[in-house]
């Protein structure tokens, strides 16, 4: 019989791996909600591609996390048998998709961050993280280009699209601070060269976002306060619903193999 996996007090490498994995999974899960409902087939396909990549990254990372936990733990145990407080994804990934502009804006803000993060992780001293990052970086580079292009398209498209995407960016801004907040886990993993101090990613991210928003004729939002907590397991009210939907079937038949 399956038991829940809890991460309270887990070691830093595991938490760090799960932060990357959970962020990829929850974003992939959210994006996959769009499948069949996109504004046109090409966009449906493009967004599904990103979702697939994210889910693929999540799998590699969960496999690594499972190896850290021992031979009895599988990638699926980690995805389907943890509660919200043992999930470590960034809060921004669990926000509802909203309209296409909301999804796109989140994607742009996240992809840009993710690009700098994974670029740095390509030099990780942790062999597994480095190998995963090196595999993932090509896809992530493409995501960042695609979502930046679309932000420009919507920003510099019609009056309506300009207003919509600006509002999306404004609404999402307070969730971006978490990208760059370091805690002990981050700092220890950075100290041994396995992880990245997220603070070091901030200025590159800011310049790129400024550059793209300027091309898109959009205004860079301002905020003096950012949301945080996802990495530490303190989430929004949305994550519980995501997990209920995602985990229901394996939890309903805990003895089954799929």
């Amino acid at each position: 019989m399956k038991k829940n996996i809890h991460t309270q007090g887990a070691d830093h490498r595991l938490i760090y791996t799960l932060r990357l994995a959970d962020t990829a999974l929850i974003l992939g899960q959210r994006l996959s909600e769009w499948c069949g409902h996109g504004p046109e087939l090409e966009l449906d396909i493009a967004l599904s591609n990103i979702a697939l990549d994210q889910l693929g990254h999540a799998r590699m990372l969960y496999q690594y996390a499972a190896r850290q936990l021992g031979p009895d733990v599988t990638e699926d145990d980690l995805a389907f048998f943890r509660d919200t407080s043992s999930f470590h994804n960034l809060l921004i990934t669990e926000l509802p998709n909203g309209h296409w502009g909301d999804t796109l804006a989140r994607q742009f803000l996240f992809d840009t961050y993710n690009y700098y993060l994974y670029s740095a992780l390509c030099k990780s001293t942790d062999d597994d993280i480095r190998a995963i990052a090196q595999k993932a970086i090509k896809e992530i580079t493409y995501h960042a280009q695609w979502s930046a292009e679309w932000v420009i398209r919507l920003g510099d498209g019609t009056e309506e699209s300009h207003q919509k995407i600006q509002k999306s960016l404004d609404d999402l801004w307070m969730w971006t601070g978490e990208f760059f907040m370091a805690d002990d886990v981050d700092m220890n993993m950075a100290d041994i060269g396995a992880g990245v101090n997220p603070e070091t990613l901030k200025s590159a991210w800011e310049s790129k976002v400024n550059e793209i928003l300027s091309l898109a004729t959009l205004t860079v939002p301002q905020a003096n306060w950012f949301q945080k907590g996802g990495k530490q397991g303190r989430h929004t009210e949305y994550l519980g619903y995501i997990l209920a939907e995602m985990q229901h079937l394996p939890r309903m038949y805990p003895d089954a193999k799929w």
């Binding site: 999974l25 899960q29 996959s32 909600e33 499948c35 069949g36 409902h37 996109g38 504004p39 046109e40 087939l41 090409e42 966009l43 449906d44 396909i45 599904s48 591609n49 979702a51 697939l52 889910l55 693929g56 999540a58 799998r59 969960y62 990638e75 699926d76 995805a79 389907f80 309209h99 296409w100 502009g101 420009i152 398209r153 919507l154 510099d156 498209g157 019609t158 309506e160 699209s161 919509k164 939907e245 995602m246 229901h248 079937l249 394996p250 038949y253 003895d255 089954a256 193999k257 799929w258």
Partner: protein
Amino acid sequence: MINEEKEMLERFQQYVDGENKVEPKDWMPEAYRKTLIRQISQHAHSEVVGMLPEANWITRAPSLRRKITLLAKVQDEAGHGLYLYSAVETLGVKREKTIEDLLSGKAKYSSIFNYPTLTWADIGAIGWLVDGAAIANQVMLCRTSYGPYARAMVRICKEESFHQRQGYEIMMTLAFGTPEQKAMAQDALNRWWWPSLMMFGPSDDNSPNSALSMKWKIKRKSNDELRQEFIDKTVPQAEYLGLTIPDPHLKWNEERGHYDFGPIEWEEFYNVISGNGPCNKQRLDARRKAHEEGRWVREAAAAFARKRAMEMQEA
């Protein structure tokens, strides 16, 4: 009919009889064009509407591997929709117009997608049975007389076979899994079997358009032939799974060299086609919503493209 047209019609028939492919710029009878437009559009719509019942389980797939496979599969269907809308465009009808006909309820799509996916086993059953039935049809269409359609089909068939194997593999996992999983698989087979048989359309004696389609080599086998092929292929697969096909009349007929099967409830078929299925409204509403809510995005992309084109011109 004036003589000239009669002559062209004869020449067209000879051309087709000679197993030559008709290409977009070739002359073709208006009825041929119309039949193709209707058939390929329906096929395209079926791919797109068909995304919905399966997409319904992406967020609830029971493992990461299954989640990814399912998402990739539904994405493939979007791709098939694209090829097929392009094939319709070669016949002179814009995608936008074709989609409008779907959303207004004027055009049809495969009736099977008006049934709900109620459990995970339905994802297996759809892959196994629905894709299986689709393939039987599509393999035939790889040799259809209209070139762009035939080429789209070759591409689609390859992916569909892959999907079908994935579906059957889900069914195997369930049928050889826990008793609860096996019951789930049997329940899915019970619900999807008859609608799958109906996918081939009415029996030949009730299928008025079939003869002309066969003559023009748009189709190459009758509905009943295809249905029989499908049954003959599928029954042993069900037996291997240890599942029971919900048809008490199903029996191997040594003499015919085929399985006999029970009567199909055509009343239900026509009811579902005409809009009364469990999910007709839900499916069309979902497509309409996506289309309506996506309008501003499509408009923005078009406006942006125009702006950039003008800038290029000015530069």
